[in-house]
């Protein structure tokens, strides 16, 4: 896998998001005004970034401002070291907060400090953990923006919450568009039954975020999932910053 291009056509945030959502191992070189940043992805996580003498998360935050320049994405390149532990969605979240122009719309009002962002994510996770205790056959849950970026997740099973978030966002967007075009009303929830599981997606008020819940089919109940999701969507909405 290889891709070259210009940052005018594809923003760094998008490159990071797509590479991570596709769970790639890759190297991304970005050139801008004589500087070169190199990012390394390992199975869908950003694990290292360097820019001159700098390394780590701060490189990401610095280069997210670059709007002009060239990029070269090469697959299969292993990272020489690991200087980043933050999840890719966390990096983009903090990066968006630091940018003057928010290319990624996230909080309704931006938190004052990085610490507040972390506290908010923790609050959401605590609510999801509690929700997990109430859902029969619970596997995982996620609070996600309609851009597919995961705000918080909680999982009991071997489920990748960021992959699930991105996939569920695509599905609910398509369902929402379909329902809208058909004039079939305002969507409340979408429930998918598979061989092994129930997957429920419910919008938070305002439809900028959704709550996704997965439950094991054998032990889960649709009525229980819907009821609990209704209750917890209200709690999550109340926990959003004003």
């Amino acid at each position: 896998m290889g891709m070259q291009g210009n940052l005018r056509d594809m923003a760094i945030a998008d490159l990071i998001q797509h590479t991570c959502q596709d769970r790639k191992t890759a190297q991304l070189r970005v050139e801008h005004s004589g500087q070169q940043a190199i990012l390394y992805f390992d199975k869908g996580n950003v694990v290292h970034a360097s820019l001159g003498d700098q390394a780590g998360e701060e490189v990401i935050y610095a280069i997210l401002r670059w709007e002009e320049g060239k990029f070269d994405l090469e697959g299969g390149v292993m990272p020489p070291e690991r200087t980043i532990k933050q999840s890719w969605s966390g990096l983009l979240l903090e990066g968006a907060r630091r940018l003057d122009e928010t290319g990624i719309s996230f909080f309704q009002s931006e938190p004052e400090t990085y610490l507040e962002a972390n506290e908010m994510a923790q609050k959401f996770e605590d609510i999801l953990k509690e929700l997990g205790g109430e859902v029969n056959g619970y596997l995982a849950s996620t609070l996600t923006g309609m851009d597919g970026i995961n705000l918080a997740s909680h999982t009991k099973a071997k489920v990748d919450p960021e992959a699930v978030s991105a996939q569920m966002a695509m599905l609910i967007k398509l369902v929402h568009t379909s329902v809208e075009k058909l004039g079939a009303g305002e969507i409340e929830d979408n429930l998918t039954t598979t061989d092994n599981a129930y997957l429920l997606i419910r919008f938070l008020p305002g439809k900028q975020y959704y709550l996704g819940i997965a439950a094991d089919r054998k032990n889960g109940n649709l009525g229980n999932m819907r009821l609990i999701s209704k209750m917890y969507v209200d709690r999550l909405a109340k926990a959003m910053p004003r």
């Binding site: 489920v159 990748d160 992959a163 699930v164 996939q167 569920m168 695509m170 599905l171 398509l174 369902v175 379909s178 329902v179 075009k181 058909l182 004039g183 079939a184 009303g185 305002e186 969507i187 409340e188 929830d189 979408n190 429930l191 998918t192 039954t193 598979t194 061989d195 092994n196 599981a197 997957l199 997965a214 649709l222 009525g223």
Partner: protein, 123 residues
């Protein structure tokens, strides 16, 4: 009336006043039987759109290792829209019903009719 249309008619009658629309649809989005009694609900459009929804739902489920999709149920403030794969997944069956309908009951009925509908599809 062929067997497929008979079964659809039977199902419609069981659903009664809550029925809005039903279609048996190929995964190309084209309906092979069914229709809508509500002129404001475009069942041709719905068939095509929900074929895409079912394809995506199946892809999503596979990517997150949750198995093959059986059905997808959308609840809106006006209606229930239920889509269920038939047989080997080369067709799906879509039903739209008013919010007055008993959802669990529709799901059960669809489970019961699904095999018969699959057998009745001309192949």
């Amino acid at each position: 009336m062929n067997k497929l249309e008979q079964l659809i008619y039977q199902f419609r009658s069981e659903l009664g006043a809550d029925f809005i629309s039903t279609d048996v649809v190929g995964m190309d989005g084209l309906s092979i039987a069914g229709g809508s009694i509500d002129p404001s609900f475009n069942s041709t459009d719905a068939s095509a759109r929900f074929a895409m929804v079912m394809k995506l739902a199946d892809k999503v489920s596979e990517k997150v290792s949750l198995g093959k999709v059986d059905d997808n149920l959308v609840t809106t403030d006006k209606a229930y829209i239920i889509s269920r794969f038939l047989g080997n997944g080369s067709y799906y069956w879509g039903v739209a019903a008013s919010r007055n309908a008993t959802l669990g009951n529709i799901r059960m009925m669809m489970n019961e009719y699904a095999d018969q509908l699959w057998d009745a599809i001309p192949r």
